[in-house]
Amino acid sequence: METSSQSWVRPLFIGAIQDVTESKLAEAAPRESEREWRRIVDSIPGLVATLTPAGEVEGVNNQVLEYCGRTLEELKQWGTSDTVHPEDRPRVIEVITQSMASGDPYEIEERIRRFDGVYRWFQVRGLPLRDSNGRIVRWYDLLTDIDDRKRAEAQLAGEKRLLEMVASSCPLTDVLTALCRFVEVTSADCHCGVYLIDWSGPRFRNGAVPSLPATFNDPTDGLPVRREIGPCGQAALFRQQVIAIDLETDPLWQESAIRPLALAHGIRSHWSTPIYARDGRVLGTFAIFHREPARPTRVQQDLIAQVTHIASIAIERALSEAALDKLRSELAHVTRVMSLGALTASIAHEVNQPLSGIITNASTCLRMLNADPPNVDGARETARRTIRDGNRASEVIARLRALFSKKEFTLESVDLNEATREVTALSLSDLQRNRVMLQFELADDLPAVRGDRVQLQQVILNLLRNASDAMAGVDDRPRQLRIMTELDAANRVRLTVQDVGVGFDPQNVDKLFAPFYTTKIDSMGIGLSISSSIIERHHGRLWAAPNDGPGATFSFSIPRSSEAVPSPPNRDAVRAPAATDAAP
């Protein structure tokens, strides 16, 4: 090891490592031999370097040499070599240059290359040593390994971002993709994949495998969950982590289905970790692929544990949302079917009118043809009317079928005016029988909304029926029902139903929308709670208020079509800081 006798003989480095202060450095220590100096410096657990006032490396202790695996001469080239991480070097040079000029101590965080090529984060504290005239003689650098801390910080930040994504209802695919990218950045040189399990197969479904091509991903989607498949199959079935260090040579995996596919894509190792639900079910597997045979380090295992935990939360959340949607649709269907009884009169009426027309016109037609001479023109006219009434009847049936058919939530552009007219047409006879007088105030240029037409009509129907029921006992005034649509002040499309019925106590307004609240004998009381749920799904609001006079007013408002985005917007994918184990 090369030393310059001059630099090592003069001032002595005294003091506790953690507490090196300028004053202590400035203490002129008794002269010691160079070996004594070296012995002390080398005994310091930290990495120590000295720099000339110009910033050139003058000397380093043993620890630096061992860590870097380089000679002093090589280390002197730190300004241009890869000893300091190329991404950090410009900043380091700038800071040191500034300090050299100002004489102020510096503190930098930088990555320094270890003997095996791996970069680790260090905190470098530089302190000037001055002579009795105050001139800087040299700089002492103390380098502290903070890599573990930096890594933990980055992971924590990444985990926080991922959890935010989960909490904000990001689509599952986005969250899983971000998860994979997080690991790929944090762990470097690997490919990640989340595979979901459909236990009805059971089959694997690709959750997210962002960095592998379709030639790898297409064949894996739909693979059966069997031990012969490979590590993921076994991890899922045996409910434990399965590590295939080398798919190529390990006899265990010779017959596995994944082997040829992996090798064809340059993948040698495949680690699979099960993702558990809270109740212990296996929801899927988290796979890490490497292009070299590899086994997981402690750090990587921690990362895997962290990531599978987040994946578990995200998948369970997505599953419960899907279940909730399904339940909503089913409930909406149930109320529609249950209201079938109440709508029987409407159905009968709607269909009986055209039927009656058909029979009357057909009877007339026959008589006209039997006349002497036959009244062909008249017969022709009655035949035409017959066809027209037949069409009317089938339209009614089609509308009713649409209203009562069970459908998943479908997104389309909906004109609320048209939807309202259709629904009121269907319930017209029912309303008329209850002597309800409809008054329409539909805005002319009402913008469309995006949503499920049938579910929205269900809500309107519910409000109409409630209004009609509320006026059942009203005899001293016309049973007026106003339906209004408008674009309100908040740029949302609003529909209002106003009646002059019994109204409600303002104190009960919250209860109104709760399930199983009803003031009616033959009602289950779920109509408004389902309506409320439907409107919420459309990112809208349903509310009610008693009128100043008799009766109540129910309204809902939904964002107009240009604004409404029924599935939440995607957040940016997670970007973790580049705390890598290897040079990029």
């Binding site: 009426h349 009118q353 009656s356 027309g357 009877s363 009655t382 006879s429 007088m437």
Partner: protein, 124 residues
Amino acid sequence: MTRVRSLVSVVDDDESVRESLPDLLREFGFAARAFSSAEEFLESDCVDQTSCLLLDIVMPGGMSGPDLQRELTLRRQEIPIIFISAHADETVRPRLLERGAVACLFKPFSETDLLGALTTALRG
């Protein structure tokens, strides 16, 4: 002597009924007029001429069929009434018949039923 055809008046808010029924009635040999509301019928000059009334039960926004029945009774206009209705509500029938209606036909009704009711109405 010219035989004066009996006038049957149809009161129904449904347009296709007003279109189709009078034609059938004429084929039966009656004279026929149609009105879209009870009020329209009362304001017309047909009230005295009407031998039989085919009357819808539910008519929105104004007098219902039973209301017209009551009104005619008050005016001592003894016009036989045949109610016609698209509402399949059996419970109203007894009450209407009690108050003097000749028949209560639910749509769709056959021409046989209609003719039978008309015959009964005009016989009495």
